[in-house]
Amino acid sequence: MSAAAATRRPAAPGRGGPLAAERTVLRLTRPYLRRLLGTGLLATATELAGLALMASATWLLMSAAGQPPLDRLTVAIVAVRALAIGRGVFRYTERLAGHDAVLRLVADVRARVFASLAARRDTAGQRSGDALSRLVSDVETVQDLLLRVLVPACAAGLVGVLAVGGAALVSPAAAGVLAGGLLLAGVVLPALATALTRRGAAEVAPLRGALAADAVDLTHGAADLAAFGATGYALDAATQRAGRLARLERRLAAAGFAVDAAGVLVAGLTAGAVVLVALRAGVDGVLVGVLAVGTLAAVEIALALVGAARQWSQLRAGLARVATLLDAAPPPLPTTPPAAPGRTVSAGPHDVRFAAVTVRYRAGAAPALDRFDLDLPAGRRVAVVGPSGAGKSTLAAVLTGAVRPTAGRVTLDGRDLADHPAADLPRAVGGLLAEAYVFHATVRENLLLGRPGADPAELAGAAGAAGLLDWVHEQPDGWETVVGEEGGQLSGGQRQRLALARALLAAPGVLVLDEPTEGLDPAAADTVLASALAAVPAGHSVLVISHRLHGLAGLDEIVVLDAGRVVQRGTHAELVRSPGWYREQWRVQEAAERGYLALAP
């Protein structure tokens, strides 16, 4: 059955057919179905009230022209008043209910998208700032899909059916004409608008992207352009592109607004035809008026579908991206966090052993890590050094479980690393990893991420060891200082210290420090590395990854990696005595840094 269904499925982009993304999103609406249904009904009631108001007001006026006794009009007068007030109240409640329901749904979508991203172990989580803000606006498309596409479309459809039904009671012929007009306004024109919007977007998007890149180049590269006298050249290119975009936008607008023009025409022609047909059919004069005014109002409501269709085609790309993430989302978690006791067990000392670990990112490619052996029992402190691209970061990724070995084993306390629950692993192995992120929150909150529930003394201890404490005390808000978006209010050095302090506070049994003193000047780097190593509890093991060799003398072992392979290993004292990469680099770096330090009193 399913196989047959699969073969019948048309070759649509993405999996699961042409509306898969919409279906995925709609599946999430289940908890809010009643609220959304209510919203849809209220929207229908709003539009219907508007239509009925025009129709009944016309009836009232035209009947009044026949000068009947007043009591024959009482019901209509009451109806007009009720409809007039009802329409506003309906609309108000509909908008509130709709936004409430949809924002609830968006909260769910955010959580699910986040859970889906969190469950990934690959590096796809690392996105550029642009891709990140796109992700955020993609999530917002869910809101627009419901509020600006689905709800108005359902309301317009329902009102259309009811309007045709109402007209049929008066004159079936006029109802037929109305149905034709509504189909044109509510189906044909929206389809046309969709096609035009899609085609236009396909033409405009690359040009807009190129222009955005131009803007980035001209602003962020302003100094480079000026220094090389290329500003004018780049400026001309960008201005020309802006002009091209403007011409394209004008051309597309001419086509797009033709649909709106057709809408006006359809409304008027349908009303005229309805009058003609109704008069031919001998419908009562008052009802002809009601039909004409009602037709204008009904087609107007159906034309809202043109806007909805445009909105929808603009949303689809974002929706598809969100749906991909939602489809990959893991089942919702139990709302209570894991019990605390498990933590104390796995936060203590651990033994790690690498046995002939090989990592190959692509089959056939040179290995990033080649038959790597390392014994890291509890309490041992090891440094891994080597030129960039030697495999140091891969080693850290393997140790934290982010990358699995292609061959060989990594064991934690004798058990394969992969056999430990992924959620427990960070408590045993972790620390300062590449691209540590500083959150838009207080210094305290950023640090507590390392160990939720740490007491003030522990905070101060970790911050002190990372050399951050003085800065914290200097701030008027102290620990409550909010560091800006992406840590923008901090200098590079303070950022690094904050990230290091967080790693020290976390104090996993196996502490990984990936370039712990990056961005600090040599003197500060020495102090911070020494105090950080001193702050590691006894029995915990440390793996320092560094391209700077100074300050590693106190470690138990130094491993030199080159092209994924161990080329040298030993203590600092042993390595500086024997010829090789380490001694050479040590001399170069030492001469340079001593020179610097000698020059800086």
Partner: protein, 556 residues
Amino acid sequence: MNRRPFDPRLLRRVPAARGDLVLLAVLGVVAALLIIAQATALAALLATGFDGRLDRPALAGFLAAVTARSALTWAQGTVAARLAATVKATLRADLLGAVGRHGPTWVAGQRAGQLATLTGRGLDALDAYFTGYLPQLVLSVTVPAAVLLRVLVADWSSALIIAATLPLIPIFGALLGWQAQVATERQWRRLSRLGGHFLDMVAGLPTLRAFGRARAQVDVVHRMADGHRVATMKTLRIAFLSGLVLELVATLSVALVAVPVGIRLLDGGLALSTALLVLLLTPEAYLPLRTAGARFHASMEGLSALNDAFAVSTDDPDTARPAPAPAPDGRGEIRLEGVTVAYPRTTALRDVTLTIRPGERIAVIGPSGAGKSTLLGLLLGFVAPTEGRVTVDGVDLAGVDQDAWRRQVAWVPQRAHLFAASLADNIRLGVPETPDAALAPAIRDAALDDVVAALPDGLTTRLGERGHGLSSGQRQRVALARAFLRDAPVVLLDEPTARLDTASETAVLAATRRLVAGRTALLVAHRPALLADADRILRVVDGRVTELTPNAEVLA
């Protein structure tokens, strides 16, 4: 914030928009006339239809009015879109031109990001303003006026009621809009914090994962998103209330008109066609004002982008500068005479006097923020001395043609910006007409040949935005190749080996040595591996420059 619906600066800053704005106003008048025509014809058609007769001229008039309105809708939309496209293209050229005029120091830092966003996607928000709001704004003036006049002719007492109630819409709209604004502002900090939380969490996901907090954070994300909903709903309740009140005001006003009309109709004191006309036209008088009000919110983003754009390029630098003097020869002596550079918050250099002899290689060291980069900026003409002067070959740099002077200078910054273009175009940045073949010596000297060989399309490989796809060592070698190709007598290097691993550093170091040979060089070096080559070493601390003699023993 500027909440005016139309910014008159637009007329001054985008003269090309004037014609279309006038056209839009004319179309607004025509639209109002057509609404009157359509309602008049329909009222006549229905009034005759009351007796079961078909009024053919009225039907023809009605259809003609409808057809004309349809054409007008197209014209209005097209003109508005054309206006939007013109304004955006003009402002984009203006903004980017301002970057060129003001120079790199002005654009550095946060402003670069803001300008890039504004010029790129920010201005696209103007579409909603020009095609959605502005035509509606015109209609909200022309339609009520036309309706009022037409009803006045048909039935003056109804016109009186319309005239009395019409101002209620803008008055209530302003009052309630102001209330909504206050409510939003009160919540603004909370809203933006809660709204930005999701982005912050996603951006920091690798870090959360490293601390095993990622899955636990799912709950927090949901809680914060729900907090955002609660805060948003508080402001929406007030914002939507204004819509409700305006709708009720409009409806009640229509009722005020309709009731006397109905009573007079019952008494036989009014023709049916007049009554129908009043009924059809009265709601039209209130509608454009309400629609414009409703669309104002959606067009706010565009208006504030417009405001930002105007704010940027109006502060024009000294345009009435005297004609620049010809640039001095870069092979002359460079002197700084009592130079002080003061920025609004800090003083970067204090009373620096310095002579750089031709062919001298000078290393500059000192803690970050001490003023080293400002020193280079002075020689590049990016920074002007607040006091004192910089001379080359006796000529004050302040008065010379900057582009001509910079042709004597090659610059290797700490982090060169790579452009979203081909690798070859990135290298020949200073000399765009250089053929690919002529790039080879510079590529070889910069030790870039292995990088070129490893790229899929070699020199024609397109780099991503900001040089995406190259490592920092490779980027630095592209910057060196630029400098080699420039072949200038003065080279300025700003920590060329910062953040490089040792292997890249060796390559860049060797290339740097080749570059400075035989040239006057100023070299900011944080990693003193570069100091060995220097003839003199300058130390910059807190804006003051002192000279050190190289200590051969220390540097051995």
